[in-house]
Every structure is written in C-alpha cells, then in structure tokens.
C-alpha cells in the first residue's frame, strides 16, 4: 500500500494556475487505495495525516424498525452468485456530494470491480421502494422495466440492443449477454431496482433530495463485493444524520443462511517495532512508529513488552493484508527520502549467463567482419515465417498467440530471416551492399519443456547487393567457425556444408551446415519469390544457424 499525502508533499506538481497563487498539488492515488478515490476520503486521509482530526470510527447499526432484507435465489448461482447490501439513513446530499457519490461508484466500477465484471453497484432511493428485496435471475424476455433515465419500458432483450450503441454501457453488456438468465433485483411490489451489472431501474433513481439510500452490490467475487460496500458506506456515511453510522441490511443466501452487511470489520495486527525498523532501515522508538502509523489511518499503540505495536486496521484499508503493508505505511509516513541509504554487505561472485556471454563475444566479431547489427521483433505474422518463405505454417512448429490485436502479433518468430529482410526493405535507399546480422532468440513448440515451448539462440546474416554474394556469406560462416574454434571437415567435431534444398532458396544454391555432428542451419542464395515477397529487388544470400551447440 502507499499513501498519497507524502506524494503531494514531495512530488507535488506545484504550478500556479492563472492568477491564483494557491499551490496546486497533483496527487497520485495508488491503485489499491479505494479509500482515497473520492474527495471525502482524500480530505479525511489528509486531515488524519496532519493530525487535525482523529480517524472516525465506522459503526454498523441495527435499525429500530424493520431491517431491510435482500433474498438471493438459487438462479443467480450460475451467473452472479453474490450480493451484499446496506442503508445510508437520513443522508443529506448537496450537488457536490451527490456528484462525488456517483463518481466514486464509477471509479470503483472501473477499478476494483474490474469494469463491473467482479462487482456492480446499485444505489436506490429507499423511500420509493418496499422491502424485502429479491435478487434472482430470469430469462431476458421476462424482464421488463423502465431503465434509468428512459421514459418507457423495455424488455431486457430490447435494452441489450439499445445499449449496444451506448458508449458508456456497451462495455458491460458482454458480462451477461450470452447467458440464458439475466440477474435482476425486485422489491416486494415487483418493482425492478436493477439489472446488474448493466443498468438500474428509473423508479428508484436517487436524486440530490434523496434522504435514505439503499445500496446493493452484486458480483462474482464475494470478498470484493464486501470491500466495495464498505468503501461506499464509510465514505458517505459522513453525511448521515448520525455521521459514520451505517444501517445494516440482511442478506439471505439460497442455502438459507443469512448475513448482515456491511461488515465494517476492524482487525487487529501486532507488529514488533524492531521488525519495522529492520525492514525499513531506520531506528525509531516504538512510540514514534505507532504515531507514524496512526497518522496513516492505522490507529496504533504500543503494548506488551514495549516493543510490540498493536495496529487497528479499519474497514477502509482492505489493502492491508500483511505486516509488510503496515511496514510500508510506516516508511511512507517517515518519508522515503528521509531514510538513510546504506549498502548491503551481501558478498557475491558475479557470473554471466553462458549463452549471453557467447552472444556478446560473437556480436563484436560480426561487426568486425563488416556486418551491421539489426534488432527485429520476436513477434510477427504467420505470413512472415511461412508463406513468404514458401513454407506451410504447420511445418514451422511456431507458437500461436490467441489474442493478437493485429496480424503483426500472430506468432513468435521461428527464424530471424524475415526480420532482417524487412529491415532491408525499410532501408532500400541505403547504399549497397547491405550486410546485416542479428543474434537473438527464436521460439518453437517443445513438449519436453514445462511450458511446451522453448527458445533457441540463432545467428542470422544477410548480404544484399547486385550480385548474390554467396561466397561472402559462405566466408562469413568460415569466419564464425574460425572464431568458435571449429575446424573445417567432418572429423574431430569440425564443420561442413552439404548441398541441400529449401523452399526459401534458389534451386542448387542452398547448403546445410553441419557442425559437431549435427545440423545447425542453412545458407544459400534466396529464391527470387522470397526476395519479391519481402518487397526487395536485388539478389540476396543468407545464413542462419543455431549457436547453442557451441556453448
């Protein structure tokens, strides 16, 4: 977890706006601090940090009258099984408060609710409804109501069509679109409160004048639904007649068990002060650490032997799940930039990864041999590694990406050659000859590996000129073998090239490279079809070998 107060002090983007000399701060709210998403929470956090106020205590209260009930039916199990609810009683909205209330819901929807997939929030004017409420799931054609801000009734099927063109709502339709049953909440008179996660009913719409708010959160993640409800009620119960008091609601699950929400659970953790000092690298007294934590909205006091700190984690701080989260808050309150920098005494001997060490050495000598290094993409289209080289994609053993946004990311490359040819195509204005190389990884399927695929480190070089220059590429191979201390000839682990065939090569101008008793690649003059398909016009010869046998 992190805290924005420090940020505003240390990284604050101070800029005078217009004629005003009020200093403006840009505040980054970390993605896991849902309690700082609205102005109410942010101001409260700052006030507590500045020790102007004490952190409020959030309480769940049972109403004097009947408790609001939400009954979940078993039909929801397959689509959106969880629901929680609460009531904000005698709240007083203003235009600003109301806007902030709506905005917080929207921010939560985008953030922890994962665009309403995990949790969707519905807020309703309780005075227009009568409980108990029922959360069930029905066939779309059986759901008919007047949705928020519409003047007539539609069936769920009609709504799904209407909202396809709605820039805001169209992003949420997919969550239920192809399901046989849609989730829906009714009151005891059959009024539809909402069809989560898409839209509320217009009937129970809240306004600035609403006094009693019924909040329901439905979802597929129970923990997150409870967190979302806690955040909303802790933030806005401030405006209730009894501030920070939240009226409980009862939720009955299909198995008959009933729970009361919001949880508003306070949890206690005990952390040793020396652990905080040890993890952060500071030397503060337990009392000071407790004070730092209290300012971070984690009410703390020193207990026991004087080295232990008891920390109360409020319902607003769902991000605190481990002692390390508490340690971080202490460090933030202390100020990262106030921490003394020290060097660890860790003594180690460095080693290079052998494959990278060999690669580095070869790169320098490839450049010394007059070839220029290219750096091409590991992802490419099927066409690049198959069709353009005269191969069928099934012959490549390539790994396929399931969700590419464009054809450029269909597969991981199985050869470096297409990248180099594309590099030449993009640099045709450069003086000839073009001599390029790349030493990098290719990927193929391999069922002997835990992930079902593996990399191979390849070396590829191309020569592009008015003549094919096979002798140059061949000479480069000889030079590489010289550098790798591999002698010519088949004996004693030497290397030879033997006439071969390949769809990418001009007939009779292709040879296979054998070294240390295994085939390591090919060299040859590229086939005119390959040259043309890569939008080139000159003859070209290439070499591509696997360098891993030389480790």
């Amino acid at each position: 977890t992190s805290e924005k107060e420090i940020i505003s002090k240390e990284q604050g983007n101070e800029k005078a706006e217009g004629a005003s000399d009020v200093v403006l701060y840009k505040i980054d709210v970390p993605a896991n601090r849902y309690d700082l998403l609205c102005l109410e929470g942010l101001v409260r956090g700052l006030q507590v940090f500045k020790e102007r106020i004490k952190a409020p205590v959030y309480k769940r209260v049972t109403p004097n009258g009947e408790i609001q009930k939400l009954i979940i039916t078993e039909e929801t199990a397959k689509i959106r099984p969880y629901a929680v609810a609460a009531v904000l009683r005698n709240i007083k909205f203003t235009k600003d408060r109301y806007d902030s209330f709506i905005e917080l819901q929207e921010k939560l929807h985008q953030n922890i609710c994962r665009k309403r997939a995990l949790v969707a929030i519905g807020t309703h004017d309780l005075d227009t409804l009568s409980g108990p409420f029922t959360y069930t799931a029905k066939r779309p054609s059986d759901i008919k109501f007047k949705p928020l801000n519409k003047t007539k009734e539609y069936t769920a099927c009609e709504l799904m069509n209407i909202y396809k063109t709605d820039n805001h709502l169209k992003h949420y339709l997919h969550i239920i679109e192809n399901k046989p049953l849609y989730p829906v909440i009714y009151d005891s008179n059959g009024v539809i409160l909402s069809m989560p996660p898409v839209i509320n009913g217009n009937h129970s719409k809240i306004t600035v004048n609403t006094r009693n708010v019924f909040i329901e959160c439905t979802g597929t993640d129970f923990t997150k639904a409870k967190i979302v409800l806690d955040v909303i009620v802790t933030m806005f119960s401030e405006y209730c007649e009894n501030p920070f008091m939240v009226e409980a609601a009862e939720v009955v699950f299909p198995n008959g068990k009933s729970y009361t929400f919001p949880e508003l659970a306070y949890r206690k953790e005990i952390v040793r002060a020396d652990l905080v000092n040890k993890k952060v690298g500071i030397r503060e007294t337990p009392e000071n650490i407790a004070k730092l934590l209290t300012r971070m909205h984690l009410k703390s006091e020193v207990i026991g032997d004087g080295n232990q700190i008891e920390i109360e984690i409020p319902p607003t701080r769902a991000d605190v799940i481990h002692a390390c989260d508490i340690v971080e808050d202490a460090a933030i309150a202390y100020g990262y930039n106030n921490i003394q920098m020290t060097l660890p005494k860790t003594y180690t001997i460095a080693n290079q990864f052998p494959l990278n060490k060999l690669t580095e050495l070869l790169r320098y000598d490839m450049a010394a041999a007059g070839f220029t290094e290219a750096l091409t993409f590991a992802l490419c289209s099927q066409e690049d590694i198959a069709d353009k080289l005269g191969l069928d994609i099934s012959a490549t053993k390539a790994v396929h990406i399931s969700n590419p946004k464009t054809a450029e990311f269909q597969v991981a490359r199985t050869t470096l050659l297409p990248g180099l040819l594309k590099t030449i195509a993009a640099n045709r204005k450069m003086p000839l000859p073009l001599k390029l190389f790349e030493i990098s990884d290719i990927v193929v399927k391999d069922s002997s590996r835990d992930v079902g695929a593996r990399n191979y480190r390849h070396l590829c070089a191309v020569y592009y000129n008015k003549n094919p220059g096979f002798e140059i590429i061949h000479g480069l191979l000889d030079r590489i073998m010289q550098l790798l201390n591999v002698p010519p000839g088949e004996k004693k682990g030497g290397y030879v090239i033997k006439a071969s065939e390949g769809p990418a090569f001009f007939p009779g101008r292709c040879a296979e490279v054998f070294a240390r008793g295994q085939s390591i690649g090919k060299l040859g003059v590229l086939h005119p079809d390959v040259i043309t398909k890569f939008e080139l016009t000159m003859p070209c010869s290439s070499l591509e070998i696997n360098i891993e046998p030389f480790l």
Partner: protein, 508 residues
C-alpha cells in the same frame, strides 16, 4: 605534363606581372595552345591558394583557314598581281593559278591590273601600277597578332564577309597571385611513395599540402545496434556490482510463473486479454511444481505466512495458461525458487536484461515488446535503506546522481517505490525505474527463510536509450523500420560520461 613547364612559366610570368594576367594573352605570348594554359591554371588551383583565377569570357577575332593562308602568303589579288610579269600574262593562263579567279576580280576592282582584249592570242592581262600595298594581308596579320582592335568596325566586317575572319567567344582566366603564392610549386609531390622512402628523395621534394577541411573516407565497417550497445553497458554495470546473470531465454511462460508465483491475483487487470498475449498453441503449461503450486494456491485463496490472502477461488486452469512473459520478473521468480531449494540459504545478487511482451496500444514510445532490466538482491535482513543504497550506486554508474523515491503500488512488492531522477534537459523529475521489497506472500511459499528479504528494481532499456541517443520515435530504434544510417552513425555508449545536455550546459 601539361602543368609542368606551362605552369612554371605561368607562375614566373605572374610573379613579374603587375596585378595579374590573362590566360589567352599568355598563351599567345608563349605560343602555346590556350587549353594548355587553362590546364595549368586548373592544376595550380587544385594546390590551394597559390593563385586566384577568375573566369572571364571575351570575344575575339580569329582568322579562318583561308585567312591564315592569306596572312602567310598574301591576298589573292596581291598574288595575282605578283604573278603578272611586265610583258603581261594570258588571261586564260592567269585563271589557272590557285588565286586566279578571286584575285583577278579583286585586282581589277582595285585597278591594279588591266585586260587587253585586242592581242592576237586572246585577252592578256597587264599591270597598271608598279607596286601594290597588300592591305588585306596586313590587316589579317594584325588580327593574327592579337591586335584586331586596331582595325575599324567596317574593315573587320568586310574581312568577315570574305570569310577570312570569324568572331569567337573565348573563356579565359584572369589569373592573379593567391595568398600562398610561390613560383616554386611545380615540383610538389602529392604523396609519399615507397621509392621516395628508399631513395631518400622525399628530403628534397616539396609536398602538396593536404586540405584538412575536407572529410576523410569513413572505414568500411560493421556496426552494433545502439540499443544493444546500451544493453552491453547495463550488463557491465551489473557485473561490476557483482550481480549474476539469470537465464531468461524463455519468451513463453506459464501464467503461474508470470503472475501467480508473484502473488498477483487471478483477477488482476494485468492478466486481462487486453494487456497480455495468451497462447492458442501451446495453450497450457505441461508441468508446474506441484507442492509449490499448492502453497501458492493457499496463499492466494486463504492467506498464510502472516497474510490475509486475497480470499478468492484460485483456479489451476488459470495458472496453467501460457503467455508471452509480461516481465522478466517471472525469470527472477524461477531463480529465487531455485535459490530457495538450496540449503542452507546463500545470499544472491541477480540481474537480467531481456525482452518482455505486452498486448498494449502502440504509440511513439510503446511497442508490443521491449527490453526489461531487472536487478535482485536476496539476503538476510535487507532494508528499504539498502534498496535505496543499491539504487544510488546503480544509477551513479549511469551518470544519474539526483534521485528521489516515491511511494507506488505493485502487486508483488511491499514496500514499493518509484525512482525519479532530475533530468537536466527536460528540467523536471522523470521516472527512471520501479522498485521494492518482494512480498512475503511471494517469497515464503518458495521456501525462502523468513528473515530473508529480497530487494528488486526494474526499468526499461528502451527509455534510457532513446534519451541517450535523442530518438523520439521508438520505431526508428527497435524493429525492422530502424533507420540504418542512425545505426551507422551512433556513437559509443558511455553512460557515465554522457556528453549530453548536462555538460553542454556547463560549458555554455
């Protein structure tokens, strides 16, 4: 040859001349072809500032071939006159002379001769005067001597009508002394030769000066890619700091190692189709370390190791999904897991620099693949202060000394800090990396001892490279659309001696 004697003479003449001389006049004076003088001028010009030559175009009268013959042998009419003896000549005989026809009529109109048609054997021609002045020859000789201006306009046009004169436009040089004028240039040698060295003749010979303003000939060489030059330097820095390189040669990773092992919950947005490349084939990892998977599952779904956990239904299918790794932290997780299996625990410092993949929206600074640099230190009792100390040393080696740390949120580090440095050129604090202590929920299920902390930081290789080489569009740097000229021209990568904005500012 041409610039030998003529050039020498030219320089001597120029030394004696007042102000300068004209190339055509010199040619006439020396009795050589004008072209020879022009050649000499040009070769002297090539030597530098010895002479200055200004191109002039002048009109000049020249004799035609017939004109030259007349200048030499006299006009046709004079020759006719000369061939007539006192006793006269038969007209038929006279007409057979080479100049007969033209000369006869001209001599007649000049009244130098007369025809007596009364003689017995046909018309006979007699002299009228005793002697004649051959005006035509004299005038042509004047022109030949370069004194055409002494003739009147009328006289010249009359000669031109007779096709004895033509007017030609001549390009000549007006040559004057240059700033390095000398008369002894002619023997300059251009280059030292083996013969000169063996004979020792170089001692006595002047050498043509070099033009040091001209560019040299660039060597015919290969070049390393700038991004990978920067990669080499980063490797070097880590090695200098005693960090061991982790294997990262697996672009394909299971979701388990890429996310779950790092305590990144399965509903985390990073695991969304919009952010991560998932594989269709092979779609699932074949093996996962069973016991460890169980510990990870428990930590996510129920908590443990002092953690509340995320309390959700952790699914093995989700962990099996294969992805193109989204960070090299997956390789760090594997390395730390291997380290945890070694008993007793030995401290370790690891680094890696390799490709990672994101299914993101592409723009001028974001590609679907980039290089991540990662450093990791695992030891007993490491603190946030240690992390900052290591970062200070690391960035100092990059030439970055002003650092600030800002709280941040990462799912797998706690505490987390973003690293900022003050950029002199941009005049603002820019983010240069992300760092933190790995969460106990990540380390303890691996089997690492409880009091072992692991500090880690990461940054991209592309960003510092773009800043260093002043590249605004990442496509010019990475991928096939690279500008090869930029690769050819890029300087050495010296991260700690950056002649960039900082020093220019200092010297300004």
């Amino acid at each position: 040859m041409a610039d030998g004697p003529v050039a020498e003479v030219l320089l001597r003449q120029l030394a004696a001349a007042d102000g300068g001389l004209d190339s055509a006049e010199l040619a006439a004076k020396l009795g050589v072809e004008h072209q020879a003088v022009v050649g000499a001028v040009k070769s002297l010009q090539a030597l530098g500032e010895i002479i200055e030559a200004e191109l002039r175009s002048t009109k000049r009268w020249e004799l035609t071939a017939e004109g030259e013959e007349i200048a030499r042998e006299g006009s046709h009419e004079a020759r006719v006159f000369g061939s007539i003896p006192p006793e006269g000549l038969a007209q038929s005989e006279l007409m057979r002379l080479p100049s007969g026809k033209v000369g006869f009529s001209k001599a007649m109109s000049n009244k130098w001769i007369r025809v007596d048609k009364s003689t017995a054997d046909g018309p006979r021609v007699f002299r009228v005067v005793d002697s004649v002045e051959d005006e035509v020859q004299r005038r042509l000789q004047l022109v030949q001597g370069g004194q055409a201006e002494k003739l009147g306009e009328k006289e010249r046009s009359e000669l031109r009508k007779r096709k004895l004169l033509t007017e030609v436009t001549l390009k000549t040089y007006w040559v004057s002394k240059g700033s390095a004028f000398s008369t002894s240039i002619s023997k300059q040698e251009t280059e030292l030769s083996p013969e000169m060295i063996s004979s020792g003749s170089w001692r006595d010979r002047p050498f043509k000066p070099y033009n040091f303003l001209a560019h040299g000939v660039l060597p015919d060489s290969g070049h390393l890619h700038p991004l990978l030059k920067v990669r080499t330097q980063f490797r070097q820095i880590f090695l200098e700091m005693g960090f061991t390189e982790m294997p990262t040669d697996n672009f394909i990773e299971s979701s388990f190692w890429n996310f779950d092992a790092l305590f990144q919950p399965q509903q985390h947005p990073a695991r969304d189709q919009h952010d991560t490349f998932f594989l269709r084939d092979p779609a699932e990892a074949l093996q996962l370390p069973t016991d460890y998977v169980q510990r990870v599952k428990r930590t996510h779904s129920q908590g443990g190791y002092g953690s509340q956990g995320y309390k959700y239904n952790w699914k093995l299918e989700e962990a099996r999904k294969t992805v193109l790794r989204t960070h090299t932290t997956s390789a760090s997780a594997r390395a730390l897991y291997r380290l945890a299996q070694k008993k007793p625990f030995t401290p370790a410092k690891y680094f890696s620099i390799d490709r990672v993949f994101r299914n993101e929206t592409l723009d001028a600074t974001h590609l679907a693949e980039f290089h991540q640099i990662e450093g990791v230190v695992a030891d007993h009792g490491l603190t946030l202060g240690h992390l900052m100390g290591v970062l200070r040393e690391f960035f100092t080696k990059l030439g970055i000394t002003q650092l600030r740390f800002k709280p941040a949120y990462n799912p797998y580090t706690e505490p987390s800090m973003e690293v900022f440095s003050y950029h002199q050129g941009l005049k603002k604090w820019v983010e240069v990396g992300n760092s933190g202590l790995f969460r106990p929920e990540m380390l303890l299920p691996m089997g690492l001892p409880e009091n072992v902390s692991v500090i880690a930081w990461g940054l991209s290789l592309e960003r510092p490279t773009m800043i260093k080489y002043g590249i605004n569009n990442i496509r010019e740097l990475v991928g096939h659309k690279v500008n090869l000229q930029m690769v050819y021209d890029s300087p050495l990568c010296r991260l700690d001696a950056d002649p960039g904005p900082r020093q220019t500012q200092g010297t300004a």
